[in-house]
Symmetry: C2
Subunit: 500 residues, 2 copies
């Protein structure tokens, strides 16, 4: 057998193992009975061990060396070799004992983080977090980097990402979005939220609304599912079986609808993957930033537009005739776009969200570099919130303890959230050039043109290109904060009649 064919066969097995893990994980979050947790962990450990063994098989190293010397590979073949090399190196560079220590410490520090958060006491988490930072630095050293340790961690979640690429993006946000938020706050205007806050919202109505909107956006429910789970996510094994979840609150219908649109965006990306590249790394969705661009596009750029609210209003009224009586599209649009600095990232609005991320990015960068240490964290955190959002957490639970990520050792993950917002704006700005009637199409509920555009420029391109190159190919420019800043300035101006 040809070396490339042999590599593909091995990659197919690795992908099947990961598909199976995807189903086990989905089931665990969505409907597994509670007592099954311990044995499910055994199953997942077996899947993970088997996947690791398949990924690090020395034969893959031999095949890659052979293929890397060849000059007759086409784009897709080269991408498969590059991506397989990346996984192989990442998996083989970490010693088994280190991986096991990390996994063990993850379980432990997850527990101490939960306890610290529940008791609002950072000191409970302190030692485990310190060890996690130590392990993250070690991990970066194993993986290797050119300039900064933190670069090695960024690269895990979006291939090729470095501080020197992220810094200018956040600088653009800091210079433009922070003053914008400040201006909104100073103006002190709040849209009319009474129709939301003074009503009760039935789960069945929210389910029906989410389903209608997701179907209209183009999610194929013959190749996927909608379910409920505590932590909303989009998972499932493969493009024919994409499963997203949302959660319902009777006091806040926006959480489930915009959560559904967010996960639908992820799901549309998965369903749009190039199917001639099934089981190949080049056929996978691209890095986390690009993935997040698709979820943010449908959640925010589409979903919080004035035109979308016009289209969606009748569906709202159909599902909640009493609550929505007398509410106009304008009212709905203002309500879904409430800009209000708040302490909790996951509850924050479109404008302030990226400031939450920027703070985490700056903190992580310094922490991994050793410029600050774990004991400095709580105050550094609070000071930055005061500086950029004008608010200070009254306790640690609402401050530095709010996110799960660090307890899992996921340093370098946060920036991909903001990348997603920037990419989404940049992609939409470009798409508008090809789709001059975009706004009118959204107003008519005709989401096919924008989805088709994303399908051909982003989804169908899989991971053939590196993320930044994909954005550049699709939009003609490298990743930049400009489109997002412009989008947000324009929106805030329309909403609040002001500019920064």
């Amino acid at each position: 057998m040809d070396a490339y064919e042999e590599l593909l066969e091995r990659l197919k097995n690795i992908d099947l193992i990961s598909q199976i893990g995807g189903l086990l994980g989905w089931d665990q979050e969505v409907l597994m009975p509670p007592k099954a947790a311990a044995l499910r962990a055994e199953q997942l450990a077996w899947v993970s061990k088997t996947g690791h063994e398949a990924t690090t098989d020395p034969r893959i190293g031999e095949l890659l060396t052979e293929l890397e010397a060849r000059e007759d590979l086409n784009d897709v073949q080269s991408a498969n070799v590059r991506l397989a090399r990346d996984s192989y190196d990442k998996a083989t560079k970490l010693p088994t004992e280190f991986v096991e220590e990390m996994a063990k410490h993850k379980s432990q520090s997850l527990i101490s983080w939960q306890k610290a958060r529940a008791e609002d006491d950072f000191s409970i988490f302190r030692d485990d977090l310190a060890k996690m930072v130590y392990l993250a630095r070690q991990k970066a050293d194993y993986l290797g980097y050119e300039e900064l340790r933190y670069d090695a961690l960024l690269d895990i979640y979006e291939s090729g990402l470095t501080v020197s690429r992220v810094d200018p993006l956040f600088a653009g946000l800091r210079e433009n979005v922070a003053p914008l938020v400040k201006a909104v706050v100073e103006r002190g205007e709040r849209p009319e939220m009474g129709f939301i806050e003074n009503n009760s919202w039935s789960q069945s109505g929210q389910e029906s609304l989410s389903q209608s909107v997701s179907e209209a956006l183009g999610f194929d429910f013959a190749a996927g599912r909608r379910d409920a789970s505590t932590h909303p996510f989009c998972g499932g094994p493969n493009p024919d079986d994409v499963r997203w979840t949302t959660r319902y609150s009777e006091t806040d219908p926006f959480g489930s609808l915009y959560g559904s649109m967010h996960e639908t965006g992820h799901g549309l990306y998965e369903q749009g993957r190039p199917r001639n590249l099934d089981f190949q790394p080049a056929g996978q969705a691209n890095g986390l930033g690009v993935h997040e661009s698709q979820s943010r596009l449908f959640e925010n750029q589409v979903g919080r537009s004035r035109e979308f609210c016009e289209w969606a209003l009748p569906i709202w009224k159909e599902n909640f005739p009493e609550n929505m009586e007398g509410v106009s599209a304008e009212d709905l649009w203002r309500a879904v776009n409430l800009v209000e600095p708040s302490l909790i990232r996951t509850e924050s609005d479109e404008a302030t969200y990226n400031l939450h991320i920027m703070i985490r990015y700056e903190v992580e960068k310094k922490l991994i570099a050793g410029e600050i240490e774990v004991d400095d964290l709580p105050d550094v955190w609070d000071d930055m919130y005061e500086e950029f959002l004008g608010i200070r957490a009254p306790n640690r639970t609402l401050g530095v303890l709010q996110d799960i990520h660090w307890s899992m050792g996921a340093f370098g993950y946060f920036p991909t959230y903001t990348l997603g917002n920037l990419y989404a704006a940049q992609l939409l700005a470009k798409a508008r050039e090809d789709l001059p009637d975009h706004d009118e199409q959204i107003r008519n509920g005709d989401f096919a043109p924008i989805l088709d555009w994303m399908r051909s420029r982003v989804h169908a391109r899989g991971s053939i290109l590196e993320p930044a190159a994909l954005i550049e190919e699709a939009t003609g420019s490298p990743p930049s904060p400009d489109a997002f800043v412009e989008y947000l300035q324009d929106k805030v101006k329309r909403l609040y009649g002001l500019t920064a």
Copy 2:
């Protein structure tokens, strides 16, 4: 590492693979989106291949040879060695090409069976069935047998089962149950079924009834689930995650309730397995016959008793107040025990069911032995239905084409259904000696004593003993049809006031 420890470690991996396959299979039947079928088949094929490789690893053969020479093994250790040997031999005796040919032919003949059934034309299925019979004979030859080819096939589904053991059981049924059914038919009395047949039964009411009854019987829903599926089954990965299904018809509430009790019986067995033997073959539920004894016990021996109907009546009335108005426990009891010869096995009653199985057993025995051939099947089938049930199928769909089993090559499977009925009766007869208040307990909805009895005598014993030895240990006698015949005669006498 000690050879026994090494064997256990390998068996644990094999069990985990099978647990994962169990979840994939459950998901496929219950909630997988339709387009996911092709890739799910790839996942299942990978699981099956990986499980086969782990099972047939030559190192297992070496370990078994070493362990079989040792004389210091206790009961559980010996059982693990015996069961691992059985799986190893069964898996290694079949050549890979044969297994693949069988799998391929299975897919093909499943399709031609479906077509033949839909078009009521046996000739469409004839060639594929003939080849399946040929393959089944070949399989028996590969597996080996002492007396009859058919013995090798029986042994697949219940270890140690042979024609010389099954023949006397069916003889007992033929001599006693067939005349009983004939007597009922001649009497021509039919219980009042109007309250069932003239009402519509909501799915939500049936779901609530099924759930209440399953909970009352002792099924632990923190370690399992109830769902709906086209073909009811009990599956899921392990004793902490037991998932059973039922189906709902608005014209027949008995289907879902007694289906639920049947699957609950299977589920209770799984939840009662000896947990100190997790991942070990000795800790698995015993052969299919014993498994079926637990489902039949709760479905029939408990569920169709007069006392159960007395206890359940208020729950029926709570869920279906209008339909059940004026219905007494006596009415309900008579309705759930309707004895009526019919053509379709899966819809048949407790008395005639085993005659359906007996016919299949006799037919399979002759077919595998070459005493009859595929072309004889349709008429042999109809003649036997006429002889033992007094009815003749008007077409092939209601006759020889009704069951899926032969299209899948599952010859030797049917008898385990009847074994289950016989074991259930024999176990309950013995349990009554220890539980003199059994009937009163059922009337009060106190199902714990009978469940506890089964837990300690059957469930907790796992597969430490061979099935027949387990029945003998639990009841003091080898498997026999006597208890079942006596139970049925007594019941029919009470229902119809007659004896055979």
